[in-house]
Amino acid sequence: MIKKFIHQFASPKTYLYQINRAYKYIFYSSLFIYTFSLIWGLLFTPEDFVQGNSFRIIYLHVPASFLSQSLYVAMAIASVTYLIWRVKLAAYLIIAIAPIGAMVTFIALSSGSIWGIPTWGTWWQWDARITSTLILFIMYLGLISLHTSFSNHEKADKLLSWLVIVGFVNIPIIKKSVDWWSTLHQSASITLTDRPSIDPSMLYPLIGSIIGFFGLIICLVIISSKVQIIKRESTKSWLKDYV
């Protein structure tokens, strides 16, 4: 019963038609929210006492580093769905998300290290967060290169989902161990988590930028999954009607 329901609901055809309707609303509303919160955050919030103006990078950095992990979680859920119920759409989603995840992680990494220059005085610090983000980035690249090296799509999908699941089990382990490792060093002078409390005038634009960025990335995932569906289902007759 469940299997039938999932297969019906998650058929690429239904997905494509449903998603097309929602796409415009998500895109324009999240674009609006994102730009609004960025302008608010970058120009209107008061200066931070400790970090000065460089703290404004928070509005660009935090959404990305937040999403870099959620996207991997999404991939892991899709992988389990694919391996258990053989839902094709889930397989398309995995490989649709992977490059976007890599891009978001890259944003998180580069913005973090640029932020590091004014605050730490160096662009790279072997801090736990940065290191685990770097490892996550490498994992994303590994996923992409695994998938592109097989010409048989079904095979590539299955192998990819195995890797995603094993990697997913490992992410908390890597995070924990890197945390543990970094306690050896002097802890970084300023970390995000140690901030006492954030002023609401700084918090609201932050929440807004997270929501907006989230929506934009969802739009990206939608388009790239569309690309995957059209690429992989190109022989289906319904697709020709759709186009």
Partner: protein, 201 residues
Amino acid sequence: MRSWLGPILLFILIMVSYPLTIEFLEQDLEKGFYSLLWISILLSMMFSTEDIFLEDYNDGSLEQIIISSTSFPFMVAKKILIYWLMIGIPISILSFLFSLGITQNLSISLFLFPMALISSYIFLNLFVFGTALSLNKGSVLGALITMPLALPVLIVLGKSIIAIQFGINYLEFLLLLLGCLSIIITVVPFIVSYVIKTHLE
């Protein structure tokens, strides 16, 4: 199985070239030695697994094993064990010997030996997973995929050396690795056999 000597030689070469890259008469050889030791164990394990299934895949033996009634995960586990016996154990003994030459502190070397045994087995399992994924697509891909998974083990290894240098109880590190090993030993053969079956499809 013919290639068991290669990884051991690689290990020896890295170990020998380490002092050569440091200034002559350097007194502080010990400082970077352990991290290099763990990394070279990692590298030689990576090197040793690069074609663990490739030959059987190319000549069709893998298909025969799957068709026959023998348990495939069990065969994978056996294969990993043989690799460990032929490569992992010699490398662990060698790392014991090399560390004797570097440090005067015997307890470090004595402690290092079981760590090397366990960690080489863990690395082997992880890289076998990687090579199984990239089976006929070259070993670089498999290594790239599985290296991040091996990092926590490296961290534990590094910490354990520091613990012993400062006289902290290091037994818990050993137990931690043993725990990891027991999970990995039971899980990896099953995942690897699924992955290889996917390849043969």
